[in-house]
């Protein structure tokens, strides 16, 4: 397999075929907890993306020094430092978003999707593929957070993009208000489970449909 198609494969895995949220079902605690609006999903998604990419890069760079006996403490050390950095960066540049996400920024440390990528991929691969893997997994996770956040915000509050000012600054924005109030269940905790279930079901339905039509189109690359 040449490196070009390898990179493509890694991207496709992270975004779809092996998506941390949809397929591996990892990192569900933050996923379910913060996705009450698009802006929250986007914020945590970007933070996770940053930590995942950097932790993959660092773990891969230090993989020759990591003995298997102490690998977990080393991963934890790397991930915890990165999370502390991103928390400081959020406090400095997106203070409102930091307050809105609250404890879930520090809790990125416990996102098992990150340790999983360090263990499964970064500790066995060179730096570049590890960065690609981290970035694509991170983007896949962030997109899922955004999608669920947007869905819950739309159904639960009848608006979209509310409070985007937490990202871009300025006056509080109410976003695009489509209806006054909405179906409350969507922003309550059960709505998170329903939304995730719907997302997983939709993904599986799309995959099955593709497999059925698959005779005509070659979907999976050989090897």
């Amino acid at each position: 397999m040449n490196s070009g198609s390898n990179t493509l494969r890694l991207c496709k895995d992270g975004l779809w075929d092996d998506n941390p949220g949809l397929v591996q079902l990892l990192g569900l605690c933050p996923l379910l907890a913060v996705t009450t609006s698009l802006v929250n999903g986007l914020g945590l998604g970007l933070a996770t993306l940053f930590v995942l990419t950097c932790s993959n890069a660092l773990v891969s760079a230090t993989r020759r020094f990591i003995h298997s006996e102490i690998r977990i403490p080393m991963y934890v050390l790397i991930i915890a430092s990165l999370v502390t950095c991103i928390e400081l960066i959020f406090q400095a540049y997106f203070p409102a978003l930091d307050r809105s996400l609250g404890i879930f920024i520090p809790l990125i440390v416990t996102n098992c999707a990150i340790v999983a990528r360090a263990e499964v991929f970064a500790s066995r691969n060179a730096i570049m593929p590890s960065i690609v893997d981290g970035a694509s997994m991170g983007v896949g996770f962030a997109l899922l957070l955004c999608a669920i956040g947007a869905f819950r915000e739309l159904v639960g509050q009848g608006s979209i993009l509310a409070r985007m000012d937490m990202f871009i600054g300025g006056e509080p924005l109410r976003g695009l208000v489509l209806a006054d109030g909405g179906f409350l269940l969507a922003i309550l905790p059960p709505g998170a489970f329903f939304s995730l279930a719907l997302a997983v079901a939709l993904k599986n339905a799309l995959d099955q449909r593709r497999t059925r039509l698959g005779g005509a189109i070659a979907l999976r690359q050989p090897g």
Partner: protein
Amino acid sequence: MPDDTRKRRQPAAWRSGVTLALLAAICTALVAITWRLTGPRIEANEKAYLTQSLRPALANVFYDNDLDESTLLVPAPHDLPGTDDAVIYRLYAENRPVGAVFVVSARDGYSGPIRLLIGIEYSGQVTGVQVLEHRETPGLGDRIESSKSDWLLQFAGASLDKPALNRWAIRRDGGDFDQLTGASVTPRAVVRAVKDTLVYFAANRDAVFAARGDDNAAVNEDQPADSQE
């Protein structure tokens, strides 16, 4: 050399320790650098956030003192609403007290304490109330938030004799304050907390402002506990 390989596969404990220590040092350096770079900005943000978050509770009260320097921490237990520490930001204009902002908790919300910001003029009139933190039901109790409804606006201008003390309740309980459709526990808790804070302010006003310059002096200790009517 096979001998060498075996050694590398099973490193001595001290080597693991050194590796970990080195990595810890690198990671700490990383965090320290980030902290140095972001520190001033975070501090400025916090100051701006404090000024900005007190503003809605203050209407247009003019003050010229530095909020950080006039903060009074009232450790629990105290006569203010809530079981956790309360904070009082005292406001002065040309060294004369003009009002105060109380950070207190309404205990009896629907789920957990509701952290409130209550602005009171020196005369004892409420300038505004803001919700800082709560865990009320989204869509019901959370409409006390000023970003979701105008419910909190009705406190502006209220004082202990406007409405009369026995009318300090929501309409359902025979008082003068609106409730929220579908949620009466949350408004009831907020109304009670504002009332209790006003009662405290009326009883302890001089002590609150007298403690100037001597931060964190416990106001409660040298005061008779007479805040009950």
